[in-house]
């Protein structure tokens, strides 16, 4: 490869400001609700007021036949049936509008069309829906006999899985057995922009055009075409500016099919903009894990084996294409996390309930398993009477064991997990915290310190996905690249950037190879018409996969240009070197743009062979090992607990993180801070509760609490850069890591404050009421002990 000299400080490793900031900071972003279009109709949905009911009748208001639609009107539209290829999986038919039964509060029953959203909502009010209420299934841990969410199953689970590599033998040798229960409550994704869809018929191309706020435009095209019975070529999906996704926007939604059907049927434009109440109560539920964990360890706390029983409340339907079971199967498959131990038994249940379907939310499964595993490690440490961080350290996979194969066959590529913990312990100044803790032991506030290690599997490839059994498997990632005649570079990728800054970071990778100024590199994404097929942006894959494809495409372009440059410099191709955007020959040089200009505009200067090589190329990329690249790190929290109110304050928060080579350190930091904010929300604030009838207890942000700026600690961020041996430039993904360990670190800190009394907290979020309950038990214990 040519020398990659980064003259302008724009390449890999440079903290350049994001190109997309200019439009966003000026309020000039283009989100779907911003679009204006002649004849545009707005859509509102009539949604179920009950969690579980038979639909007896739906009466449209008089004269509204062409404006109100129910399931029977949607002729030819298939229900969403997302099947995991796993033995015993039970499939659900999710009709775009309810069919026969409603299965959660908020399920769309009818759609109403009007010139404005307000009028559409007026119309929705006048639709008369007669329901016959059924007993709702709301507690995934207490399902027993009927009624069933899906009657035809005669059962409650989408899927049950189990694995055992001989835990019973291992358990016999254990000096210490620790058993704990954990609960990570149901949450809502709460991307800043909710879902939005605008669809119209393009007569010019005889094509259905669907603008949708999505992370995966190509997958949505496939999904819409399959469910509407269209050729994929007859569907174009565009994702303009998208205000966050976090997993919510990587699934096909019932509303997407509805709006697409309207546009296809009536050949006019229609739009639906999700409001926050719809987002909270219908669209974007996630998490809700229950764990029962038994750890077997020796007297020093070295883990011998783990037995994990995992129940996930999956909601009513299986989402396409990630299914209802990704959370539970990933939780079971990844439970061992960063720890080295031999014995592992797991059981998992993906339970159907009368709640919205859960989606894969940032961190997918791992926020839950990290919570369960890290709290277990601390419990083991307390059981053997040692500092949790020491026991944690000894159990972490050592660097010299890399690449390490865990008990479920996952291959950890690289990293020094112990070093990241060591840095966190040092940065948090553990001895000082312990002194402060002792000094304040009898005061009004309790102090605790907690650590949590995590691993973040990123850019998992074909092999791993094939084993999961989802309806799709990602393959080699493409990027198409071309020069414009004035020497600008256009990069087209099928992944989608919705806050990750990929218009900048992918350009930085291209700059690294070709040396072209970032201002002359455009990254085009979010349009199936313009970009190569990709399964899209999810699972922290884009910078590794699309980044690798961009680098590969740039290398091909450089090789295409080299003989042209050599010809123009009148020397042999071997003696030309590309450096910082210029080809240097023995006695002269020529810039990359100049080469491009010559090829396009002055081909007569080139010989026949050179003038057919082309400056528009496809770069395809797959990491050398495609079982995933593992980012990892440690979070450490110091908390103070008000003994009288259960109020918790984060006094200090340290993050140590290793995501391989950082393409843009500023973007990496932003991803980490944002993720940590969501993790802190999980730990302390966010909870979607339901009553026993399945009614959601929060339908606005007044009741569903999100962390704001004032709730964020001043996070101190440290980095290690261990390059992945398997990827271009050693890059690993970083999109989810920040959101994984905060609940674990914060709960461990609280349990540390209570250490020695047997009091522990185990349910998110840690509300003052929950925490005060623990304080009461702690005070009782102290009084009992005569303290």
């Amino acid at each position: 490869m040519d020398d990659a000299i980064d003259a302008a400080g724009q390449g890999i490793g440079s903290s350049v400001l994001r190109k997309e900031d200019d439009r966003h900071m000026r309020g000039r972003g283009r989100f779907i609700p911003d679009f204006k279009m002649d004849g545009l109709s707005e859509v509102a949905f009539v949604r179920s007021p009950l969690a579980h009911a038979l639909i007896v009748s739906i009466a449209k208001p008089a004269g509204a036949a062409g404006w109100v639609f129910i399931r029977d009107d949607l002729a030819g539209v298939k229900p969403i049936r997302s099947v995991m290829r796993a033995p015993g999986f039970r499939a659900s038919d999710h009709h775009p509008l309810a069919h026969g039964k409603v299965r959660f509060v908020g399920e769309p029953i009818a759609m109403c069309v009007a010139p404005s959203r307000a009028l559409a909502e007026d119309l929705a009010e006048s639709v008369d829906v007669h329901l016959e209420e059924l007993t709702a299934v709301v507690d995934a841990k207490a399902v027993n006999g009927g009624p069933y969410v899906h009657d035809e199953w005669g059962a409650h689970t989408f899927l049950e899985t189990s694995s055992d590599n001989g835990i019973e033998e291992i358990a016999k040798a254990a000096a210490v057995t620790v058993k704990r229960e954990f609960h990570m409550s149901r949450q809502v994704v709460n991307s800043m922009e909710g879902k939005a869809i605008l669809a119209y018929w393009d007569d010019l191309k005889s094509q259905l055009v669907v603008y949708t706020s999505t992370q995966v435009p190509h997958m949505i095209r496939t999904g819409i075409a399959e469910h509407l019975g269209l050729d994929q070529g007859a569907v174009r999906v565009v994702a303009p500016d998208v205000g966050g996704g976090f997993g919510y926007k990587c699934v096909l939604q019932a509303e997407e099919l509805c709006i697409a059907w309207l546009a296809m049927t009536f050949r006019k434009p229609f739009r639906w903009t999700e409001d926050r109440r719809e987002h909270l109560t219908s669209g974007a539920n996630c998490r809700e894990h229950f764990y029962s964990v038994t750890a077997y360890a020796d007297v020093r706390g070295k883990l011998l084996g783990i037995d994990a029983e995992i129940t996930v409340d999956a909601g009513a339907y299986s989402v396409w294409p990630f299914t209802a079971c990704l959370e539970a199967t990933m939780a079971a498959g990844h439970f061992p996390g960063p720890y080295a131990f031999k014995g592992y038994r797991s059981k998992s249940w993906s339970v159907a309930t009368n709640k919205p379907a859960i989606l894969p939310y940032r961190g997918v499964a791992r926020t839950g398993i990290c919570f369960a595993m890290e709290l277990t490690i601390d419990a083991v440490a307390r059981a053997v009477g040692r500092e949790p961080w020491e026991v944690r350290r000894e159990n972490l996979v050592p660097e010299d064991a890399m690449p390490y194969v865990n008990p479920t066959g996952k291959v950890y590529d690289s990293g020094d997990y112990r070093r990241s913990l060591d840095i966190a312990v040092k940065e948090i100044d553990l001895p000082a915290v312990r002194r402060k803790q002792a000094a304040m032991a009898d005061g009004g506030h309790l102090i605790g310190v907690g650590f949590a290690n995590y691993i973040e599997m990123t850019a998992h490839g074909t092999k791993l996905f094939a084993a999961v059994g989802l309806p799709f498997v990602p393959g080699a990632e493409p990027a198409t690249l071309r020069f414009t005649p004035d020497g600008g570079l256009e990069i087209r990728v099928g992944v989608q950037s919705h806050g990750q800054g990929m218009e900048t970071s992918l350009a930085q990778i291209a700059h690294e190879v070709l040396g072209i100024d970032l201002g002359k590199i455009a990254v085009v994404h979010g349009d199936t018409e313009l970009t190569p097929f990709s399964t899209g942006t999810y699972a922290s894959r884009s910078i590794t996969m699309a980044g690798g494809a961009v680098a590969e495409g740039c290398r091909i372009l450089a090789e295409r240009m080299r003989p042209i440059a050599a010809h123009l410099l009148q020397c042999g191709a071997d003696s030309v070197v590309l450096r910082a955007g210029t080809f240097y020959g023995p006695s002269g040089n020529i810039s990359v743009p100049e080469v491009a200009r010559t090829w396009y505009m002055r081909p007569e200067q080139l010989s026949g062979e050179l003038s057919v090589c082309g400056l528009e190329v496809l770069g395809l990329y797959r990491p050398k090992v495609d079982t995933g690249q593992y980012s990892y790190g440690t979070h450490a929290a110091v908390v103070s607990i008000d003994r009288l109110t259960g109020a918790l304050r984060i006094l200090d928060y340290v993050i140590v993180e290793d995501c391989g080579r950082r393409v843009n350190p500023l973007i990496v930091a932003g991803q980490t801070y944002g993720g940590a904010a969501q993790g802190i929300g999980t730990a302390l604030l966010e909870e979607m509760q339901f009553d026993t009838n399945g009614q959601p207890l929060a339908s606005t942000l007044a009741d569903y609490l999100m962390p704001g700026a004032a709730e964020m600690p001043n996070i101190r961020l440290h980095h290690i850069e261990t390059l992945s041996p398997n990827t271009a430039y050693g890059i690993k993904g970083v999109g989810e890591g920040g959101a994984i360990p905060p609940p674990a670190a914060i709960f461990n800190a609280v349990n540390d404050a209570f250490a020695g009394t047997g009091v522990e907290v185990n349910t998110t979020p840690l509300t003052p009421r929950r925490l005060y309950g623990a304080i009461e038990r702690w005070e009782l214990g102290r009084r009992g002990a005569g303290a």
């Binding site: 009010e125 109440r277 007044a702 709730e711 003052p768």
Partner: protein, 276 residues
């Protein structure tokens, strides 16, 4: 989340607003800052036939010294109070309270009159103004009347006002220079309504002392016996069990956590009485 249809009138004077209310026979609603009514409209929980917008009525933004009393127009925003629109004699407590209502964006529009009329028991003005023993000045088709803030809220989200009455302002005694006050608000995050709150006002010169407890589900409770005990204690201290049993008597707590929280908020408010 769009409102049901309504007509919109913009009032330019108090008289116009009052006439508008009278003309609608109870189906109109005043909109001031819209910070509480806006969400209610969008959720279609409020469905007025007419909205009478008083945000442009300058008469309602008056702040005036009248004798020993201070008059604060109903249209005064939380932000204006936060920024010091009240004279120094009254500013301390009210400024401190204003600063902790919601977020600045809400404070920029939300008004003191709107907050009182909305009658959310967890809101801050109803609590603070009860502690100051202020009164609201009300105008209706039959003229003026004055209602003590303490008896304004009949029940959560319900006042004693008639549907055609408008709050024009708040009248409160000015505190003497030796008066002390304190405000405690416990909420789960910045900008959120209180889970428990307390305001204490103690003016030695006039022998005035009020301790008021605010909770999410019941109108603010004036803790008379506690106030008397505080006034008669030379060190200005109250034993914790006295506060605890006062909370139990108040009947505002659903469980042991509520009792604990309300007791603590009251105790801390008393502990932290500061010079205005």
């Amino acid at each position: 989340m769009k409102p049901a249809p309504f007509e919109y009138w913009r009032a330019t004077s108090i008289d116009e607003a009052v006439q508008g209310l009278a003309a609608s026979a109870g189906t109109a609603k005043i909109i001031a800052g819209g910070q509480s009514l806006g969400p209610m409209l969008n959720l279609r929980l409020a469905r007025p036939s007419v909205l009478i917008d008083i945000a442009g009525v300058t008469e309602l933004k008056r702040v005036q010294d009248v004798g020993g009393k201070l008059f604060i127009g109903a249209g005064t925003t939380h932000a204006a109070i936060e920024d010091g629109v009240l004279p120094a004699s009254a500013a301390g407590l009210m400024q401190a309270v204003a600063r902790r209502i919601a977020y600045r964006a809400v404070r920029n529009r939300g008004t003191i009159g709107g907050s009182l009329a909305h009658a959310d028991p967890a809101a801050d003005w109803i609590l603070a103004l009860t502690a100051l023993d202020a009164a609201v000045s009300v105008r209706g088709p039959n003229g003026k009347r004055s209602v003590p803030v303490q008896s304004l809220m009949r029940a959560p989200f319900t006042t004693v006002l008639a549907e055609d009455e408008l709050i024009v302002g708040i009248e409160t005694d000015k505190l003497s220079s030796t008066a002390v006050w304190s405000h405690q608000k416990f909420s789960r995050k910045v900008g959120k309504f209180a889970d428990a709150a307390a305001v204490v006002v103690l003016d030695d010169t006039s022998g005035f002392c009020r301790i008021v407890l605010g909770t999410p589900d019941a109108p603010p409770v004036v803790m008379r016996s506690l106030a008397e005990a505080l006034l008669s204690d030379s060190k200005r201290r109250l034993p914790l069990d006295a506060i605890y049993s006062a909370v139990q008597t108040a009947g505002t707590a659903a469980d042991s956590f509520d009792i604990q929280l309300q007791t603590t908020v009251l105790a801390r408010a008393i502990e932290k009485l500061v010079l205005q």
